[in-house]
Symmetry: C2
Subunit: 645 residues, 2 copies
């Protein structure tokens, strides 16, 4: 079993700052709120039905299944988030609530280990029969993740035993050989979960099962072609449009996949498992496939906000460089998937590019998914909105102009919650030779390096400024490497260690500054990242962004909102030579750095629809706010990309 790279959650505390505030919001508001939503107790929100379904399956109440066939997974993600909260902030009431819930789940589980309330209550004869559309293994995967999280947080085996029984059933059911099903789930997830289970239990057979699922995928003869024949299906659901089996990454064996295709969440969960396996087995071929896919995603399919997936139909990847702003999908879950995949790539090789993307996506695409009050959410994270068009056009019907309390398909809110509740898994890494810091947030971590207890304290107001103080306190002198990420967006960084200037030119490799030395009782490393406002332009192949710039400061991508700039945002032009001032305003959006510049506004020469006259411009003021904070002040236009003049 590969060595752990994450610090146990209870060993890290984020005490203040931007990410800590969001994590606290998740603990104090989001997790309790989502519990109410899963119990159908939020007035005005779409019904969930999730707890209800388990209670019915457990025989605790009468009723019918409600919702989509993958509804169970919402609960699993919530349990995972709640378990992470228990790990960092013990709470007897929540602990007891989880115990009661897990008892219900255990009662709902069939004697042979099967667990999927949709199949159990609605189509019991369809068990494992429609792997391309139903989500049995996907749901199993989320419960396995939940079981591992609950075990690690509480030491209790109650849910771990449930999911172990389920995993054993899956192991008996799927694979090569007589009587076994040579298929795999249409929505990947069980693969990465089985690797977690293997690591939590020490049972390598679960990792072998994950590897079998990954390697079987897309091989000839294609399992799904046989399956739809058996089911008598003449055509596939419309969301398979254009892609057919590429929609679920089964068009060819995974090692031969070089371009991200299909449903973007599915793709990310598959690639995450591939990266995990590449390290676990190890498997250089899988690692190479992961590198290729990661490069293709981030060089040709990534929104500047770190979002991926630009097609609503099928929630999927489109052509390279086809990144429309007002019809973006950029699902919160897909962004999270890219965070997971990038984090696993950092385990394979410490390259700053992986952490840069992880940071970009987390700070922009993912955090935009949740309101400042933690009670409303975006599923889709477009980069531009004009409310009248969004409400009227069918090809914008996936666009919400304001966050909503819940979704009929509510995969995103609990996914955001479980990730923010386990922030330390993304900010820190344990390395064979020391510690790496990927994300900077005020925190205290206790780690053991070469058998020595080390405290790692970070003080910073990041992302509002680029001053970072890191205190290292080793219980006894020990030599190890402290690897500190120098963000890719930063062109002016400097560092000191105990007051001495650190030579970055020599010390930085692949985006990380390494300080390898004997560490004693008290050391202080200071990092200074210059944070000018950057004018970012898209690759020329992104025709949607022609003639436009985006503003970025530190890791934050900015946007214009109507509330600050008036309507018709696309008539506001930013001169190429305009100075852009950055100013922290404690009164705006809970306290944020706001950008301001002198701009020009187009003035129509006449009222004609078409005319040979040239529009004039008048002076105007432009105000930009962090994209992740948009839509917290009422409905209005929003745009990330700004026309230049």
């Amino acid at each position: 079993m590969a060595r752990p790279t994450v610090i146990p959650l209870h060993e890290v505390r984020f005490h203040r700052g931007y990410l800590a505030d969001r994590a606290r919001l998740v603990r104090e508001v989001v997790i309790p709120y989502q519990w109410e939503a899963l119990n159908d107790r939020v007035p005005g929100a779409e019904r969930s039905g999730t707890i209800h379904n388990f209670q019915v399956a457990a025989g605790e109440k009468a009723g019918e299944f409600y919702g989509l066939w993958f509804q169970d997974s919402d609960l699993a993600k919530w349990i995972e988030a709640a378990s992470y909260r228990l790990a960092t902030h013990p709470d007897p009431a929540l602990d007891a609530e989880l115990d009661r819930l897990i008892a219900t789940i255990a009662r709902a589980q069939l004697p042979d280990g099967y667990l999927d309330t949709y199949i159990q209550l609605v189509e019991p004869d369809k068990r494992w029969a429609n792997l391309h559309e139903y989500h049995e293994l996907y749901i199993a995967g989320h419960f396995i993740e939940a079981g591992v999280a609950h075990f690690q947080a509480t030491g209790k085996r109650s849910l771990l035993d449930v999911v172990g029984k389920l995993a054993d059933l899956i192991e008996r059911t799927f694979g090569d050989g007589p009587g076994k099903i040579p298929g795999y789930c249409g929505h990947e997830e069980v693969e990465l979960a089985l690797i977690k289970l293997a690591r939590a239990t020490g049972e390598a057979r679960y990792a072998r099962l994950a590897a079998w699922f990954v390697n079987q995928r897309g091989t000839a003869p294609l399992y799904y072609e046989e399956e739809i024949k058996r089911l008598g299906l003449k055509k596939l659901p419309v969301y398979f449009y254009h892609d057919r089996w590429a929609y679920l990454q089964a068009h060819r064996p995974v090692r031969e996949q070089t371009e991200p295709v299909g449903h973007s969440v599915r793709a990310m969960y598959l690639y995450t498992a591939m990266a995990d396996l590449a390290r676990e087995l190890p498997d250089a071929g899988l690692a190479e496939a992961c590198r290729t896919l990661w490069e293709q995603i981030t060089r040709r399919h990534l929104y500047i906000t770190g979002g991926i997936g630009s097609e609503w139909m099928g929630e999927k990847f489109s052509e390279p460089y086809d990144l429309p702003n007002d019809r973006a999908y950029a699902e919160s879950c897909a962004g999270l998937g890219l965070v997971f995949f990038s984090r696993r790539m950092l385990d394979l090789e410490l390259r700053g590019a992986y952490a840069d993307v992880m940071e970009r996506t987390l700070y922009n695409n993912v955090l935009a998914g949740m309101a400042l009050d933690g009670k409303t959410f975006f599923y889709v994270n477009q980069l531009e909105v004009r409310p009248a068009e969004a409400h009227r056009r069918y090809d914008h019907h996936h666009i919400k102009t304001q966050r909503v309390p819940w979704f009929g398909c509510a995969c995103c809110p609990p996914n955001i919650a479980r990730t923010l509740a386990s922030l330390a898994h993304y900010s820190h890494s344990l390395l064979p030779d020391g510690i790496a810091l990927h994300l900077y947030a005020a925190s205290e971590a206790r780690v053991t390096v070469h058998g020595v207890a080390v405290r790692l304290e970070v003080e910073t107001d990041y992302p509002w400024d680029g001053h970072i103080v890191i205190r290292v306190k080793a219980a006894r002198p020990t030599r190890f490497a402290l690897r500190l990420r120098i963000p890719g967006w930063c062109s002016g960084a400097s560092a000191t260690c105990d007051g001495e200037t650190v030579d970055l030119a020599g010390g930085v490799r692949d985006g990380y500054l390494t300080i390898e030395r004997d560490w004693g009782a008290a050391h202080e490393v200071r990092l200074e990242f210059l944070m000018p406002v950057l004018r970012v332009r898209a690759n020329l192949r992104v025709h949607h962004d022609r003639g436009r710039v985006a503003l970025q400061r530190g890791p934050l991508v900015y946007c214009l909102e109507q509330v600050d700039n008036g309507p018709q945002l696309d008539q506001l032009l930013l001169p190429r030579d305009a100075e852009i001032a950055a100013r922290f305003d404690p009164a705006v959006l809970g306290g944020a750095v706001v950008l301001e510049a002198g701009a020009r506004r187009l003035i129509a020469a006449d009222d004609a629809l078409y005319s040979t006259s040239t529009p004039a411009t008048e002076p105007a003021k432009l105000t930009a706010v962090p994209y992740a904070l948009w839509a917290n002040r009422g409905e209005g236009e929003m745009s990330v990309w700004i026309h230049e003049c």
Copy 2:
């Protein structure tokens, strides 16, 4: 009955030139080709089933109904086109073919006059039961138009009698009072057709029935709300998205409608009937409603090509100024509808703006609908295409990158055919005090003015140049007004009459030059329209066209094609001061004026997806061809709007 304003078709001949070539193509290729298509004899084309359905309904063969519930109308439009051809170019074989076909239609008609092969063969119990979705009255309208055209071309009453019987059934069935249905068709058409029938037969009751349909529309209590209750329908088809009853212009009484909404073909056919009735009754209130709607359409909803309808879902109008280029709908039939509506507005009042729009739409949106060989067609006329995106994105799935031989829903090809086959109805008007010329094409017309035979000959190479010679030859001296349209696009016009300069400043009113005088045996009027290349900009509210210009010369809108300019058309920039040369090239696209200019092409500073570097440019050449002629040289990118630098 209002006086006729159109010259009988057999009195006008278009002998050469751009429109004449297209009309000849329709006569010689399109009409025979479409006959084959309607008979399911075109290899590789989508099946029509139309003739088949009538033969089955007539008891001439066994079989089942094939196609959509409004398939019958394709045949009616073809009969109308074929009749117009017979009017101008007698053809005994076609005449006999029509006789046989009409005999089949007569046999298919039920004894009480009912005619709709879908209802007869598939849902006989649903007669008139689902007016919001089925098209019985729409089909009746097209057959009425066909019957009138056939009667006027041949003098035969065979089809006129069939449609008279059908109209009488409709009159008995619909209206106020006991036992009558107080409803109206979801797809307007029968209204304008009944007015034609009234004029052709002299029976004013048909016009009264048309007026009843128009006035009943959208009144409370809404007929359709009762209808869906009766049908037990819980929800409307998805193409009613956002609009509900506005989708079919029944959200309020027609006189209270001030904004074009819903399905754009339906809207145009309604407004055409309203304009006809405004003159026929006369009705000043309807005329005012028509003016308002026409202004709203052309000032806020019109593509530069004259296309309308920018939403594929529901083939309908979107928000004002929401005119996306790559996802345009701009259906050929909607453009034709706007031609019909504008032509009727010219009957209400001679304003050049109506003819300007009629010309813009006909020369660009409508003619783009047909290939140079007359054998393939566009239904959707987008203004920009990138083939890879068009093939891949679901929100582009209505976009075809090349014209196709036929459509499952084939409303457009025969609609184009019937309009081009009756070109004289659009180019000339008979006025109470003389003659008006709206469209300029080499032609000879025989008209009777104040009882005197007058020949009107036009010589021109329009639209390639702006020289027009008009010869007026009256059989005996007579005084009348010759009203000549001065195109709205022309900022430099001059005229002579018999060699004498005509004072345009004094003589032009509302876009028409009036020469009112005694006309004798031989006079010559010369018009000279300067035709510089115009750089046209869209209203600032059209964000889709921000920073871009379109090129227009005379009535023709131009576009860039990949075959001339290479790929990545949006990386080609037209400098604001670039001179644009116009050159007639006989070798290009059957002979066309091509535009050429020195341009710049963007060069990427690097390969990054996002970067703070600024792209450079290099010199390039830009070639533009008439938009109506695009996609005649293989698949590739196309764009009407060109980025400026």
